[in-house]
Amino acid sequence: MNELVPLPVLIPLIGAGLALAFARYPRAQRVISLVSLTTVLAIAVVLLVAVNDGPLVLDIGGWAAPVGITLVADRLSALMLAVSVTVTLAVLVYSLAQGAADGDQGAPLTIFHPTYLVLSAGVSNAFLAGDLFNLYVGFEILLVASFVLITLGGTRERVRAGTTYVVVSLLSSIIFLTAIALVYAATGTVNLAQLSGRLAEIDPGTQLVLQVMLLVAFGIKAAIFPLHAWLPDSYPTAPALVTAVFAGLLTKVGVYAIIRTQTLLFPTGRADDLLMVAALVTMVVGILGAVAQQDIKRMLSFTLVSHIGFMVWGIAMATDDGLSSAIYYVVHHITVQTALFLVAGLIERRGGTTSLARLGSLARLAPLLAILFFIPAMNLAGIPPMSGFLGKAGLIQAGVVDGGALSWALVAGSLLTSLLTLYAITKAWNQAFWQEAPEELPETSSSAGMVGATAGLVVLSLGLTVIAGPLYDYTDRAARDLRARSPYVDSVLVDGGRGTGQSRDVTEDADRQEDTGDIEDVEETEGSVP
């Protein structure tokens, strides 16, 4: 079962290479992308079930944990992986249908498939990375792919928005890299499991510096206030499907990294109050930005920023319930936000614009679109039976149990944010669908595949309500594992928590030679064992 762990990274990478080789055959490219991502989805589901027996660990290159590169799939990784691959696949289907509808003109599409697969590989690598440096490499893989995707076509507007995005992303990478160098200088390791033990032994002041540097680096990726300003500027200009997959995944990779930092590396909770304040301000500032927007895509980008605050709040509470709700909220938000951006893409195709002042009458012209927008919108705002409500209710419950002035402020802030989300969404809904269109909208059509892919995600987001019970059980267990730390650490570092640090070849040889009583020629047999 352990051998499955690297496949979510390998398969998309190989697929990307193949897709690049078949750049002249769009049909082959489409098949390659679909097959790779479907396979990865199947693997992710298998992993999701398998991690119930404990985290899966694979030492790449056969070197045991603290020395070699380790890939780890625990409950959190497997869940994030499964959800992200599902969303990636749905967006791929949408893009294929869009390509079919537009008759496949345009050269940029030939690089779309390889880049998209590389993005998927990078996201998987970040979720599975067992050491800080591999996490950095995962980030870089997905960043490089995202740079290409966000400037796809190279129009003036995309290059301008892309520049901000690229420079800010690079800056956060540099901060992350600096943090890794300092961590290595202080502890002599970058392995997450080993760090969880060693970081506790170093000077508390140094610990705090390292923690804050990591949080700043991940905070930029996750778009937490005051590090969020790049997001609402760069996301709306990209093509709808690119924005959809970015909104769903890239910020969540940052959130995932924050969860790891806060639970595995620095469980002392010294930055919790800081994160709580950041969460509160992120929520409120984000949603106030959304209320002021006159463009659907910009409005959605600001709600994205705002709702990152909910997840950070859950992490900052540092209780089992809070963390569990935060993970549930991440799952809910990935599906809902992606669905909303895909719907925004459909609206743009139908109405020719995403500006609310120019849209109108869509409820009459495209009733299906109205339903597809309405359901995830209400889900985002957190209307009772839906998963958004369940996630928010879990967070608020954990906050009330937590007590404390800051917690109550956050409970109030989250309620206010939900109301304002409802207001912003309803305003958009009224203007786009119910007001009389100021001018005649152009007659364009969306293909059934695009609507189908979007509808699939909407149904999935509703399905999260249906399976809320088992899913919450799962996230509860994931949160308990994360807070206990021992399942993760023990499975990576076998042999009393320190690991052997030896090549598998050497240990196997040593075992064999102990049997025969001959330990002399270890070096000669090295490399002969596969």
Binding site: E140, R156, R160, T178, A181, Y184, T237, T354
Partner: protein, 174 residues
């Protein structure tokens, strides 16, 4: 056991590289940002070198006793980081070139929202919701909204040549 305390020369080198890099990063011109990022990345690479302790014997089994060897892991990480930086620099350069192709300069322009607000403040309008977005799409806005770099060019030419392709940026408003 080799001495692990860092060398002062390397620490100073990191300081100079990162310091000049940050200075260049704060510029508006994308070319300078590229150079700045390259400098900072190299500074961080040297920081990794410091993290590995002072230089020792080559880490080859048989060539030296294990406790005299230098730590090979930071070198491996630096190598990876260098490769990644190379790719990123190439992409940034391509983007700077594209920006020059499109606009005649490679300056990073202001955020749309910032430009709208600045424009409203200039016209002394109320900051409340006005008809600033009278049904134009983002792309149209981007083309018509005046941009700080464009106006600088008109008021105080600084030697940028502006090809016809980019000339509509500031003109559309008046």
């Amino acid at each position: 056991m080799i001495d692990t305390s860092p060398s002062l020369a390397l620490v100073l080198l990191v300081g100079v590289l990162v310091g000049t890099g940050v200075y260049l990063l704060l510029e508006r011109s994308l070319t300078r940002i590229v150079v700045g990022i390259a400098l900072i990345s190299n500074g961080v690479n040297v920081l990794f070198l410091i993290a590995g302790g002072r230089a020792g014997a080559p880490p080859i089994i048989g060539a030296a006793a294990p406790e005299d060897m230098s730590d090979p892991l930071p070198q491996a990480m630096i190598l990876t980081a260098i490769v990644i930086t190379l790719g990123m620099t190439a992409f940034l350069l391509a983007m700077a070139y594209r920006s020059w192709q499109l606009n005649g300069h490679d300056e990073v322009q202001d955020d749309l929202e910032d430009r709208r607000i600045a424009r409203r403040a200039e016209r002394n309008e109320l900051p409340a919701r006005s008809t600033d977005d009278a049904g134009t799409s983002l792309a149209e806005d981007a083309a018509s909204v005046r941009d700080e770099t464009a106006s600088e060019d008109e008021h105080a030419p600084r030697g940028h040549h502006r090809p016809a392709m980019g000339a509509d940026d500031g003109e559309a408003l008046r």
